[in-house]
């Protein structure tokens, strides 16, 4: 039971607890904050696996950009406790069943994988370091890298189309 183990268990418990808090919080802003805590816990796991670059990218992109968007949406749609819509009971059941199915599939898939029984390379894996990542990305994975730009292009076009749907731009101005 060295310090890495202690950190691992602490981070795991933190990640699971905050993920649970995300879905049980009544206030959507609290949910967003708990989700940020979850991302921090996952980043901590990355650091334990010696993948500092992935850890910080996780924080920059998820905690620093995507969660800001979530907050924007919550503020824009004015979601808070008092305006929470009544949810259909059947929908809740359907959601629970779908979630359980996903869990079942994941467990079934992970049960037979080779990962099982292998110890994680704590503090010694090299692939997460930025230099190795750069070499891999720009030699072996060039085509996926270029294709990802098309993905970004479509995302951008989609954002513009949805955001500028209103023909009259002065509408809904604050």
């Amino acid at each position: 039971m060295n310090i890495t183990h202690v950190l691992f268990w602490f981070l795991s418990v933190l990640a699971l607890f905050s993920a649970l808090m995300v879905i049980t919080s009544r206030n959507p802003v609290h949910s967003v904050l708990w989700l940020i805590v979850t991302f921090f816990a996952i980043s901590g796991h990355y650091i334990l696996l010696n993948a500092q670059f992935l850890a910080i990218v996780n924080i920059i992109v998820y905690a620093g950009a995507i969660m800001v968007l979530f907050l924007f949406v919550i503020m824009l749609m004015n979601l808070n406790k008092s305006t929470e819509p009544k949810k259909n009971r059947w929908l809740q059941w359907a959601g629970a069943i779908a979630g359980l199915c996903l869990l079942l599939v994941l467990v079934a898939a992970l049960k037979d994988t080779e990962i099982k029984g292998q110890a994680a390379q704590v503090n010694e894996g090299e692939i997460g370091l930025i230099k190795n990542l750069g070499k891999e990305l720009f030699s072996t994975y060039v085509v996926p890298f270029e294709i990802s730009s098309i993905l970004f292009l479509s995302a951008m076009v989609g954002a513009v189309v949805i955001g500028k749907a209103s023909p009259n731009p002065s509408e809904g101005r604050a």
């Binding site: 206030n27 802003v29 609290h30 904050l33 940020i36 500092q52 670059f53 850890a55 910080i56 990218v57 924080i59 920059i60 905690a63 620093g64 950009a65 800001v68 907050l71 924007f72 503020m75 808070n80 370091l129 930025i130 604050a174």
Partner: protein, 347 residues
């Protein structure tokens, strides 16, 4: 073995305590400096009542903030209302972690590096913490349950994320030169090959403008535009929580001055001299380096204040145009040219 770990912990704790208190003291005296600079630029005297030259003014201000009654709006979400300023303060304090303040000290027979954490993603750590800086403003402004605070928060958040982009691109030009993300390596590289400002003037200009915008300083202080938004995102705040927002702004300013001097102006390096050949002790060198670093940082803080009291505020559309249509292409151009030159010279 255990003893060395013990010493390491003590050393880091002391360093962290020192850096946190240094940031606080600098932030306090930056408020004083701001008023003195404003007075100087406007041909006034400025604060001169508390102590000699008004030097005790920050203490009086701090004490006042501490003892003021705190008012929490009834309709606000109370937890988020308190969390907002705390987040602003925490993110402001965290940035200082990866900064190499000076050459190592030599104490009790061992070298003590004056850097909290020399992690191998140093510069990205700063970028990450900057990207988290939005939350303090956003959550505080939203939780206040005030139309003006909300508008200011949204403005501030949109502005900060927009200017993060050219900032990151400007950093790329620098990384192409150095080839390492560690802050200590970046400073060392400048000591060996000359300051980065010589190689990256365009990158520095973009970075400087973005630093102004990220700190919410004039001409980018649209989140605190008092004549359109009453007071800005911290309108409903009082007492220590207001103090946190104000302090966080000044800490950010100081730290961005330090970061700029580390990245572009050689950090603790003294130009044109080789201080290692002076034959003075290592500790004296470290202290001189630290003072040099502080001088550079204070110069940038002064420039920030100078700009604030000279230039009027941008309009929001001008702000967005500058960010997206001028700074982003400029920084991209800078990056691609830098890369091409580096590859060409390598041949």
């Amino acid at each position: 073995m255990l003893l060395t770990i013990f010493w390491l912990v003590i050393e880091k704790l002391l360093l962290i305590g020192l850096i946190v208190s240094l940031s606080m003291v600098v932030a306090m005296y930056a408020t004083y400096a701001e008023r003195k600079v404003a007075a100087f630029l406007q041909d006034r005297i400025g604060p001169n009542r508390a102590g000699i030259f008004g030097l005790l003014q920050p203490l009086a201000d701090g004490g006042k903030l501490f003892f003021k009654e705190e008012i929490i709006p009834l309709a606000s979400s109370k937890f988020l209302f308190i969390l907002g300023p705390c987040l602003a303060m925490i993110t402001a304090l965290l940035t200082s972690a990866v900064i190499p303040w000076s050459t190592p000290l030599h104490l009790f027979g061992q070298d003590v590096p004056l850097q909290v954490a020399d992690i191998n993603i140093g510069i990205l750590f700063i970028f990450g913490v900057v990207s988290l800086g939005v939350y303090g403003i956003m959550i505080g402004g939203w939780a206040s349950n005030n139309k003006f605070s909300l508008l200011a928060a949204v403005r501030g958040a949109s502005q900060m994320v927009s200017y993060e982009l050219p900032m990151g691109l400007a950093l790329l030009g620098l990384l192409l030169l150095v080839g390492d993300l560690r802050m200590s390596v970046i400073v060392q590289n400048q000591i060996e090959h000359g300051w980065h400002i010589i190689y990256q003037p365009l990158g520095f200009i973009v970075f400087f403008i973005c630093a102004l915008a990220e700190c919410n300083r004039t001409p980018f202080d649209l989140a605190e535009a008092e004549n359109e938004l009453n007071f800005g995102y911290h309108q409903e705040y009082s007492s220590m929580k207001l103090g946190f927002y104000l302090f966080a702004e000044y800490i950010n300013m100081f730290i961005s001055g330090v970061v700029m001097s580390c990245l572009f102006f050689g950090g603790y390096d003294i130009p044109f001299v080789n201080e290692a050949s002076w034959g003075i002790s290592q500790n004296a060198l470290a202290i001189i380096g630290f003072l040099v670093m502080l001088t550079k940082a204070f110069f940038f803080v002064f420039v920030f204040m100078w700009i604030r009291w000279t230039i009027p505020r941008f309009r929001y559309d001008q702000l967005m145009n500058l960010g997206w249509k001028k700074l982003v292409p400029l920084a991209l151009f800078n990056m691609i040219v830098t890369a091409a030159v580096i590859l060409w010279l390598k041949k």
